[in-house]
């Protein structure tokens, strides 16, 4: 009886998540354009681009070359590379670009001072920034030449404190993992973020290929260095302070997706722990907030708890198995039957299969959807990752230990960027 009640409760939560994604999919498909109100295309504030880099010799040259090609007025653009205690040639490569281009600067952090995480490196960069707007790029990124114009335009609105562009996977054809990550990215950005923007919900600042107003973030105490998902933390800090984050689907930037199960584990574990830290920090303030509307509060609660979904799903599978193997009564089978289907509604970094599929369709790549069913093994992998993240977080909290930043390795592969795109 207790098992059945728990099973029903978990199923109801999972169903609510699915309904949320159905709404997102419908909205993203039928409202194809981002609202243009408050978007000022002539707005050209001073901008500082921050590129934190730690042992990125394979990719730093590519992004700095791209930075020199940006169409934003050079006199209003400052580019800062934060060489975060690299032990390879990252600093030297960046210095070469700095000698050639007046607006590129390099900050060197010693190996002892550096390596404390992206937030720490960005905070260091903010200290040296002169621009009103800070735009962040990871070293493996390759943005569009006019991305700065697209990203700063919504910031003309006083209420918009941060902006986020779309991320496209650069090395998609490399292997099955990169293909599946590309699917996740399409679902998350083309549908999830787009729908949240159109519905006025919690658009998320992703920490890269996006930016924020320097003064506002400084007033809020900068980026949190004790949280692994400093981007999600900033998103909630801004919303709780009465500002909002704007998502711009047209501002695209390529990223190098993780290409092995090992890298996937390390990256997702960091995301999961960071997100869980944010949930613990912001859940109560979100519920109590008077600056968030009811729909924003509901979305915030869903968003903050998203990394607990795979764990709930695993519990549902275990209870489902127990019920079916102990019974099974018709009631047990009726309860168990929708669970595998609901599992598929939470795959792909928690974007369900229909959301990813429709995102691919909107992105004119519907043919790549054939591999969509293969997201299921990745979901199982995510179950293990999220469970491990929760255990690690609890142990570290109990022992009072700080969780270290685990950096994703980049190889500089560019299987997508052809001459056409250059």
């Amino acid at each position: 009886m207790i098992l059945e009640a728990l099973f029903t409760l978990i199923s109801a939560i999972l169903l609510l998540y699915s309904v949320r994604h159905i709404i997102f999919t419908i909205v993203a498909l039928h409202r194809s354009k981002t609202p243009k109100e408050n978007v000022c295309e002539d707005y050209q504030p001073s901008v500082t681009v921050l590129i934190p880099a730690r042992n990125e010799e394979k990719v730093i040259g590519r992004i700095l070359k791209r930075m020199s090609e940006l169409t934003y007025p050079k006199e209003k653009l400052q580019i800062i590379v934060i060489n975060d205690g690299s032990r390879d040639k990252t600093g030297k490569i960046a210095e070469k670009f700095s000698e050639k281009h007046d607006n590129i600067e390099v900050i060197h952090r010693s190996p002892l001072k550096g390596g404390k995480g992206k937030a720490s490196a960005l905070n260091e960069g903010i200290k040296h920034a002169k621009g009103d707007i800070i735009i962040c790029f990871d070293a493996d990124y390759y943005p569009q030449v006019d991305i700065i114009e697209k990203l700063v335009a919504p910031l003309a609105d006083e209420k918009v404190a941060a902006v986020q562009g779309r991320i496209v996977v650069i090395n998609e054809p490399e292997n099955l993992i990169t293909r599946l990550v590309a699917l996740e990215r399409v679902g998350g950005y083309c549908v999830g973020q787009k729908a949240r923007e159109n519905l006025g919900l919690i658009s998320q600042f992703g920490g890269t290929a996006g930016g924020f107003k320097r003064k506002i973030v400084e007033e809020l105490g900068g980026l949190s260095e004790d949280i692994l998902a400093e981007d999600t933390d900033l998103t909630f800090k801004l919303f709780l302070a009465g500002y909002r984050v704007c998502y711009v689907n047209e501002a695209e930037s390529y990223e190098e997706a993780v290409n092995s199960f090992n890298s996937y584990w390390r990256q997702r574990l960091r995301w999961a722990i960071g997100h869980m830290q944010c949930a613990l920090k912001h859940l109560i303030p979100v519920i109590k907030s008077r600056k968030l509307s009811l729909k924003q509060k509901i979305d915030a609660i869903f968003l903050l708890n998203v990394y607990f979904v795979p764990i709930l799903m695993a519990i549902a599978w275990i209870i489902g198995g127990i019920l079916v193997f102990n019974g099974p009564s018709i009631f047990d089978i009726a309860l168990w039957s929708p669970i595998p289907f609901l599992t598929y509604a939470s795959v792909g970094n928690f974007a369900p299969f229909f959301e990813i599929g429709m995102g691919m369709y909107a992105d004119r790549r519907a043919k790549a959807c054939k591999i969509l069913p293969l997201l299921f093994p990745m979901f199982l992998y995510n179950v293990v990752i999220c469970t491990f993240a929760l255990i690690k977080l609890c142990v570290c909290k109990l022992l009072g230990r700080k969780i270290g930043w685990d950096k994703t390795l980049h190889h500089g592969r560019e299987t997508v960027i052809t001459e056409k795109y250059k």
């Binding site: 194809s32 039957s337 595998p340 429709m358 691919m360 992105d363 004119r364 519907a366 054939k370 069913p373």
Partner: protein, 143 residues
């Protein structure tokens, strides 16, 4: 007195056309399900009806309104229904043959049946989606 004239553009007309086609199909699927309910065939059971209805509902509402060859979509829809009929029609036969012999296997079959159904529904849905042609209006520009 002002007279308002509503002009429907080609794009809207196309959308309405696709939507009405989908609704007609959905209606046909509902009628066929109701007809199946009255058939006393050993192949027709609650599972066939439940999973076929779920698939038809999902497929007709999401894939049919998208651009692409109508015949391809229809063939994929039929393929899904055949798969549902074969698996869910076969499954009780498997179950009844193992029931007296192996209770554990019977329970295992009850456990994996929804998993298998979810797998084929999503696979056929994805196949159907991959046969559509994407819209040209998407704003994404890679420079």
């Amino acid at each position: 007195m002002k007279i308002f004239k509503f002009r429907i553009g080609n794009k809207t007309r196309h959308k309405v056309k696709l939507l009405s086609k989908s609704l007609i199909l959905l209606l046909l699927a509902a009628i066929s399900t109701l007809t199946l309910l009255h058939l006393e065939s050993p192949l027709i059971n609650t599972n066939v009806i439940a999973y076929s209805s779920a698939f038809n509902f999902l497929f007709i509402l999401t894939i049919f309104p998208l651009k692409g060859k109508f015949l391809n979509k229809l063939l994929t829809l039929i393929l899904g229904n055949i798969l549902s009929l074969v698996w869910n029609g076969l499954y009780p036969t498997l179950l009844s043959s193992t029931l007296s012999e192996n209770i554990l296997l019977n329970k295992f079959l009850s456990f994996i049946n929804p998993i298998f159904n979810a797998l084929w529904i999503i696979s056929i849905w994805s196949l159907g989606l991959s046969m559509t042609s994407s819209p040209k209006a998407y704003a994404g520009r890679r420079t």
